[in-house]
Amino acid sequence: MFTRKLRIAALVAASLFGMGAAQATDITGAGSSFVYPVISKWSAKYAEATGNKLNYQSVGSGAGIAQIKEGTIDFGASDAPMSSEDLTKFGLGQFPSVVGGIVPVVNLQGVQAGQLKLTGAVLADIYLGKIAKWDDPAITALNPGLKIPSNKITVVHRSDGSGTSFNFTNYLSKVSPEWASKVKFGTAVEWPAGVGGKGNEGVSQYVRQIPGSIGYVEYAYAKKNSISFAQMQNAAGKWVQPNAETFGAAAGTADWASAKDFNVIMTNAPGDQAWPITATTWIIMYKKSKNPSHTKVAFDFFKWSLEKGQADASSLDYVALPATLVQKIEGYWASDFGNK
């Protein structure tokens, strides 16, 4: 009788502990909308594989940084890197997660995707409003043999603060001194010309509706909505088309080696094959977490995503980080976060 009771008690205890061990941990992150599609796909796959759930709120990079500073989430995601001073001040660390491309899109009758050639300087002059017509010599000189209509150029930009705008304006200020001094770069700027569409969706719709317009969207959007994008001349002087290889080449040739805390904006990357407007999103986490079990799962998730999430990323037209960068990130985890 007594032994039986004891046995039941032991069983109950064992099952309780067993449950405790298998209990899934729910972690939360917030920030950039640029990575939202791929993180939500990863988290579904990851939950299948490990049972740990991840809840990601796509609230914008600024809000993501604000929330991680408050400590209300396990990781933040931002399209603009935080400075090393800021990171140290709050005890945070950051690393890139996935790469994507931003492409100039145009609505020009008779011009197919990838046909129109633009240099950074010309693109900047268009966005400054200095080049106002499509048959401007600056454009026709780059495109001998391409029949370009003489339309007026209508510039379309993002009306909402966004990482896409951040990287696009960052590129323009790298290639145009005038842009760098007049407009500068940021998630939102005072646009010298044009109209503002809300989100990638708004910009691509406006570009489709206005003949002779030019805009910029994430590559996946241009591809999905079959809007014709332009090819660009990169920092090495080569003409490149936007695709997974050229985005990967930009990520591979950006100057990660000399950067502290991966604080590199990889626009205008030097490689021969590099797409000039390539972007990443930084994941921001506490170095000494208040909630170690959550942080452990978060690390596990990003390790899993770097190693096993590549196919999912490329199915959504993102590009996984190059192997050398992955190694560097894992080294950073070990040295700065004490996570192996």
Binding site: G161, A188, E190, V195, I210, G212
Partner: protein
């Protein structure tokens, strides 16, 4: 109720009655307190929201002072902000919305209460209520995908051909050459682009018609049949009955309904963000793109930090001020009308 107590009543009964009286007064007092509390919640919410936007926006008000109201700059990279364009855009779109929504709502309400056959009133009324229930993002998408291209193709070219100094067909109309200043209201930097103040105003009009027309319908139904039938008996036409009996009888409530719709138009966010074009260039033209207070906040709040966030909060406070001023004007108009009554 139990006040009349005669001397013949035994004292026990009298005591019971006194106790009941005391309980009644106490219950009444509690009830009054609860009601007062309900009303106070509204006041508290209002003061709290206005106060916190003022508090969070104080940084911007301090930095720019009065110039915040008159500056057309919105430059996050150099931290220069001004509220002029968003305020103009807000008022402009709401004005156009009212211009179209009020007459149409008036027609709908009159049709439903005076002219429509009984079997039609039910379905049309429910259709209007359904329209009121559509979320604003749906209107935004509809505006972006369907209505803005329609405006660009059909409405805007016609308006520009007839009223602007730079018409697409190249022929400046007689009106423009003879009426100075009119072209200023119909110029457009992007003639083939549908989004703008007019488009946003028209989308807003569709959004507020259900509110205004259902209020109007309700109050038109309160007009005593006696009055209307007397007028008909004296030989009035339907129009005379409407204009001389129904409208004067319900004037105050009708204007109240109009301002309910105006309130919604001033604060509408998502729909406007999609069809206004979101630019910060000062212009008087109805065909030009612009920004509204609510759409600017919705667009930029997620990524805003520091002074930019404060400027957005200051904008939110200004929306309170604009709405308050508009309501004040409405009250004054009502008082004016009231003094004229019976003359």
């Amino acid at each position: 109720m139990h006040a009349t107590v005669s001397n013949a009543v035994p004292s026990a009964e009298r005591a019971a009655e006194a106790a009941r009286n005391a309980k009644d007064t106490r219950d009444d007092r509690i009830f009054a307190w609860i009601l007062k509390g309900c009303a106070l919640i509204v006041l508290l919410a209002l003061v709290g929201a206005a106060g916190s936007t003022l508090w969070l926006g104080s940084d911007a008000f301090h930095t720019f002072g009065f110039g915040f109201l008159t500056s057309a700059a919105w430059d996050p990279s150099n931290d220069q902000y001004g509220a002029l364009v968003p305020i103009m855009g807000t008022i402009g779109t709401a004005f156009i919305a009212l211009l179209f929504a009020v007459p149409v709502s008036f027609g709908i309400a009159l049709f439903l209460t005076e002219i429509a056959p009984q079997w039609l009133r039910g379905p049309v009324s429910s259709a209007i209520e359904l329209l009121a229930g559509i979320p604003s993002i749906i209107y935004g998408m509809w505006g972006l995908f369907i209505f803005a291209p329609f405006v660009a193709e059909h409405i805007k070219p016609w308006l520009m051909n007839n009223f602007s100094a730079d018409p697409p067909d190249g022929q400046v109309s007689w009106l423009v050459t003879h009426v100075p200043g009119i072209a200023k209201f119909f110029s457009s930097e992007y003639p083939f682009f549908g989004a703008g103040v007019l488009t946003a105003g028209l989308v807003l009009a569709v959004m507020i018609i259900p509110f205004i027309s259902s209020v109007m319908r309700e109050v038109f139904q309160t007009v005593p049949t006696r009055l209307k039938e007397s007028a008909y008996a004296l030989g009035s036409s339907t129009w005379e009955v409407v204009w001389d009996i129904v409208v004067p009888y319900t004037r105050t409530a009708v204007i109240g309904g109009v301002f309910l719709g105006l309130g919604r138009a001033l604060g509408e966010t998502m729909a406007v963000a999609f069809v206004l074009g979101n630019t910060f260039k000062f212009s008087l033209s109805f065909l030009e793109t612009s920004s509204s207070i609510a759409s600017t906040i919705a667009n930029q709040f997620g990524e805003a930090q520091g002074l930019q966030r404060s400027a957005l909060m200051a904008l939110a406070f200004l929306l309170f001020v604009v709405t308050f001023i508009v309501l004040l004007i409405a009250r004054l108009m009502l008082r004016r009308l009231a003094t004229k009554e019976g003359k």
